[in-house]
Symmetry: C2
Subunit: 260 residues, 2 copies
Amino acid sequence: MAMAKLLLLVALVAAAISSSTCTAEVIHALRPVLGSGGQLSHRAGVPCDSWRVAVEAYNKRDWKTVPAECESYVGHYMLGEQYRRDSRVVVDEAIAYAESLKLAGKGKEAWVFDIDETSLSNLPYYATHGFGSRPFNATSFNEYVLKGNAPALPETLRLYKRLISLSIRPVFLTGRTEDQRNITVKNLYYQGYSGWEKLLLKPLGVKVAAIAYKSGARQKLINDAGYVIVGNIGDQWSDILGAPEGARTFKLPDPMYYIG
Amino acid sequence: MAMAKLLLLVALVAAAISSSTCTAEVIHALRPVLGSGGQLSHRAGVPCDSWRVAVEAYNKRDWKTVPAECESYVGHYMLGEQYRRDSRVVVDEAIAYAESLKLAGKGKEAWVFDIDETSLSNLPYYATHGFGSRPFNATSFNEYVLKGNAPALPETLRLYKRLISLSIRPVFLTGRTEDQRNITVKNLYYQGYSGWEKLLLKPLGVKVAAIAYKSGARQKLINDAGYVIVGNIGDQWSDILGAPEGARTFKLPDPMYYIG
């Protein structure tokens, strides 16, 4: 892809993500075709819509890449309105739940946020790397992360701000490693996140599966720091499974990759 | 609705359910319109497709009825090809998992099956009762159950038969009560299920939530009868949550009702 076209695509993806009105028309290089005949949803034996729902409901596990025939489907899903709409319904539910809570008034109620594909979006990266249909490339992905330009997921930012106003403390818990702390802090601030209680990154060299790592970190948050985890939101099941999960968990959509 | 039309609808629903070829055209009173413009999926502020995915991913909990504006959407989903396709992807995954297992050869590997909307379909009932958009009516629903005519869910029956051929023992675990044992046995046999290891119905008068009841029954299956639960499939999250869940769980689609 020529550089000019690449930059245009990245800019358009960023514009689509940062658009604050979900129902407004968004302009992007790939036009969403979901709902306009559905042909894209069923190709070469893989019903991509059913595959996506199976991923969301944790029926599909340990998958390595998006099926090749679903690359276009996933691309249109991610860039179109459906991803935004699906995310909005999840966050509406999370906010309604948070608003229903009776807090103890000691400032110890925490809400755990994952970062990638939850608080920040890497769609500008994935849009130029096959939307998850190609094997994960740590080198090029980390280069993208280190730019610190990942846009906020607007719905998650809305939840984050509402929780702050309710005096529920946001805690970021991410698989990003300690050496990415500075750029992550900068990226989060730049995208409108501020006032978090903790930013928990993975120590370098720790080699445990995400579920074990994140459960352990949540347990520590409770035992050492006395927090009550009232909510937990992520795009991966490994963000929200494993005791202590948090009193209520929320799964944001992510058909692009799987972390076990 | 006139009785003749009602009977026709029931017959057509049964025909649609019992059709053994998933991709064949099915004839039914409500024509599925999903994928033909998507207008049905977003009405009066409730994006019904996002609502359905939120239900499947356990983001929506404790809901009482399908939103009124989604009755038609859910009806078309259930009667159309998408429900069948979504179910097929889940069962394909379950069969691939079962085939990958190394069995100990002692005949103690069990697979837990829920009954309603998992092994047997109550769609003939729900199709004439608003597809879950009206409050649950125990009287009319139990009348339907006692007829013993609920069709098998073809995908689940396919899984069931494959497990039998693999020497994995099916155990039914249902919220149906002991007084419905005879009609349930008859209904299951009539629909092609046979050779199960146990049929566990709820004792009359037991008043615990489904998660607690079913987890307890699974624990008993392990402790008292020495089974290893290698798989567990249901249409409700309360079928598959709560230790011991089983080594692998599968969530079949059900946008019609929620059991907590």
